[in-house]
């Protein structure tokens, strides 16, 4: 950006070291962020990005190193101090209270009072003003439970703005957003930067860095390597810099050798607690040795479909057959034993017991079976050996298998879940957003693993909001909209545009017609 007025950087972090025991999560990091710029942090899972930002926002204390804000040396003792210094953080996992309204959540900790009582009205007015100014569409009176993830994130942003932050940290903000919401978020960040705020953006998506960031600093194994101008550095350079080796962006795969039907879903109907139909007479078959991608806009029944197949929710009618066995409305344990692996969409809610040791997490589905238990008694050594094996095989970075799973970095938590699920030798693998929050190297690795499972003759059901991922991996793509399968297409016969149209509920035939027509129109226009 040319119009950066101040020469003194808004933030300067020098020689930051943060040790957990003997392990240095940050090992001499230097970072400089100017006012008015969007500065991206890029690094592998476990490189130390969140740790560095937690230091800046006062959640952690550095073991050594110095922080300067606008040229002045500061010590950030706790989040309240950070907030006073104008630093606000939008965490990857939101810190909102579900039963409170948007306004109450934003006020919390920075309450306005009138006499002895809260002055909610004034606060609401101020929040509305912020909403209007930054076009952060959200209703100040809504309860958090009732609003979408994208809106919850806006509440988090409003929270920092309400506290008059001029340094904003976004830790993997786009991982949970739809494509549309990501574009809106980028626009918001640019607005904020144009106002002179300093913005730090952590993301694993190189495309977002290219679109949004001014500069990007690469971090590897706790060390800051280099800062690039984001506009004239290639994605390939960045990826290589960050992992320290060549990365391939497309996954190679042989033609699928499909076998018999593994999963048959017939006429499935699932309603939620309020009796709203979420899965609407859905039928789908998946064969051994193929990956089926389920493409669709968030909230069109994908979650309910997955939860019903895995036994977490019950269906109202229809049936699900796994390799000839009826598993409709069976318990999760029966379905797991019948041969299902499930990489859940929400790893913190379903995938992991974050307060239990990592080793226990790696056997959470079969801890009661040999060799992990004999006659009801846990075999600590077998459990530990299993965890060590998986961690090595899947390159999960962590300090010790006895540490709680919650101490792993976000991406490594995901890798641990994937490792556990793929190691169980199931017939069906249900993978919901399997690469959410992973770095490019890890994504490449997981994609290879999924293809390997396919080549081993497993049936893979891949649910992803990222069309590129589906196009890359799937052999066939089933488009879901309003709980129905709109159409099933072979990946090699379809395009992003066609899928995009179908995702809005347009049938395959009409989608093809419509695209044909617009192509002709374009041609005519060019002439």
């Amino acid at each position: 950006m040319e119009q950066i007025k101040e020469k003194i950087p808004a933030i300067k972090m020098e020689h930051i070291v943060k040790k957990f025991g003997n392990f240095a999560a940050n090992d001499d990091i230097n970072l400089e962020v100017k006012a008015g710029e969007i500065h991206a942090l890029l690094g592998e899972n476990g490189a130390g990005k969140s740790t560095l930002m937690n230091i800046l926002s006062g959640l952690l204390q550095p073991t050594s190193g110095e922080i300067f804000l606008r040229g002045k040396k500061v010590k950030i003792k706790n989040p309240a101090a950070a907030s006073k210094l104008g630093i606000g953080m939008v965490h990857q996992h939101f810190m909102l209270i579900d039963a409170f309204t948007v306004t109450e959540n934003i006020m919390l900790g920075a309450e306005k009072t009138k006499g002895a009582s809260l002055d909610i009205e004034t606060a609401k007015k101020e929040i509305q003003a912020l909403v209007d100014k930054y076009k952060l569409k959200v209703n100040p009176d809504a309860l958090i439970t009732d609003i979408s993830v994208g809106q919850q994130q806006r509440v988090e942003i409003l929270k920092t703005l309400y506290r008059k932050a001029d340094i904003l940290i976004f830790d993997e903000p786009t991982a949970v957003l739809t494509t549309q919401e990501i574009q809106e978020l980028i626009a918001t960040m640019k607005n904020l930067a144009a106002e002179g705020k300093a913005i730090i953006l952590i993301t694993h998506k190189l495309e977002e860095i290219r679109q949004a960031a001014d500069r990007v600093t690469v971090i590897r194994s706790g060390k800051s390597l280099e800062t690039f101008n984001a506009k004239n550095v290639s994605a390939i350079t960045l990826a290589e810099k960050m992992v320290g080796r060549k990365v391939s962006f497309t996954t190679e795969k042989k033609a699928a050798k499909t076998g018999k039907d593994i999963l048959k879903i017939n006429d499935l109907v699932v309603k939620d607690a309020e009796n709203v139909t979420k899965v609407d007479h859905l039928s789908l078959d998946i064969r051994a040795g193929e990956i089926i991608g389920i493409a669709g806009i968030d909230g069109n029944g994908q979650t309910e479909l997955v939860q019903t197949v895995t036994g977490l929710t019950h269906s109202q009618s229809g049936e699900i057959i796994l390799d000839g066995k009826n598993i409709t409305n069976k318990t999760p344990r029966k379905i797991i034993k019948a041969g299902t692996s499930h990489i859940p969409e929400d790893r913190l809610r379903h995938g992991l017991e974050i307060n239990m040791p990592l080793a226990d997490n790696m056997v959470i589905e079969n801890f009661y079976e040999k060799p992990y238990a004999r006659m009801g008694i846990l075999q600590g050594k077998a459990i530990a050996d299993h965890a060590k094996k998986l961690i090595k095989q899947f390159d999960v970075k962590m300090t010790s298998i006895d540490e709680p799973a919650g101490s792993l970095s976000g991406g490594n938590q995901q890798k641990a879940v994937v490792a556990r699920e793929l190691s169980r030798d199931s017939k069906l693998i249900v993978a919901a957003q399997p690469t959410r929050g992973l770095d490019v190297g890890a994504i490449e690795y997981i994609h290879k693993q999924l293809i390997k499972q396919r080549d081993l003759g497993k049936a893979v059901m891949l649910i992803s909001f990222e069309l590129d991922e589906i196009l890359d991996l799937a052999d066939r793509i089933a488009v879901i909209s309003s709980g129905k399968i709109i159409g099933v297409v072979n990946t090699k016969d379809t395009t992003k545009e066609e899928l995009g149209l179908m995702m809005t509920g347009v049938g395959l035939k009409s989608a093809r017609k419509e695209l044909e027509a617009s192509k002709n129109k374009n041609k005519a226009g060019v002439k």
């Binding site: 050594s64 003792k77 995938g351 009661y368």
Partner: protein, 381 residues
Amino acid sequence: MQSRNNKTIIAICSVVFGLIAGAIIMLFFGYNPFSGYGSLISTAFGTPQNIGEIFSQMTPLILTGLSFLIAQQAGFFNIGMSGQLFGAWVGSVWFALTFPHLPDFLIIIGATTFGVVIGAISGFIPGYLRARFGASEVIITIMMNYVILYLGNDAITAVFPNSIKQTVDSSNQVGNHGGIGLKWLSDLTNQSSISAGIFIALITTLLIWFVMKKTTLGFSIDAVGKNADAAKYAGINEKATQIWAMTLSGALSGLGGVTEGLGHYGNVFVQNSTPETGFNGMAVALLGSGSFIGVILAAALFSALTVGGAGMPNISGVPTELVAIVIALIIFFVGTGYLIDLMIEKIKSADQASSNKGKGPGAGKQQQKKISKKEQKELEA
């Protein structure tokens, strides 16, 4: 997140603060805290009989402490320990007095089983209602305390035949037929109420520790208590596990009641309210901060305070109620452990700062001042 270490420190600090606050209260009311606490200690540990009494009172406290702990691990707040204990107490004494002709060991086994089953059922009911209907176990267990209190009292006054009663509202002593008193122990402690119950409690603690840490049931309870959604996802039957945990919790409180009936008191009598021991188990578990050794130590401390407190009025004139206040304050400090936690973190970060002070020339004087103050404190201590 609080680390195990911090929790232990919080527990110790709470006890110290509780005692200090007790001393301040004594001062305030014109008593000498040194002679107050002096008389407490000399009473508690002064005679073999009182030492025996401490062990005797510890017994049900350990068991109800464990009971609370297990329920808590599964995500339950069991306030029904008091009723579970009383029900089992009545049941075990009834059994022992009703079948006096059986061989002694069969009476003990039968009475214990009967009592434990009563406790287990009283734990199962709130567990089942919560798992099946989402009913609040807090409300259910509080109500069940009343139900069991009146049923138990009614059983003693109206159901127990006169042949097994001393008075209208108390039963005969079980004596040698079913009693778990040990002659050598009571001889050693000058005929205190100590019984084999203390060994039962200690062995049970070991057993429960094993179940919780080393078995698949313990694993399931832990997983469900920490994150029921993740447990369900992993195929653990979260409802069945919750019911098991509450049943086990009730059984432990029941065992506490059995030791009261066959050991400590040797009989059962009508109560005005469900026994306090049940509620004190909660305090024991809280102070024990979730650890098994912690439960034993906390039970020992509370018993010593109670037994010692009884001697205070005669020797130093301090009323026994002071002990109740001190115990309440200790629990208060554990409850507000957050504050102590904060202090620990402060001290830790000051430590860290002091170990890096060489780094920056600007790190300067302010820190040094802090450190010297801290060092002074340490010297004083």
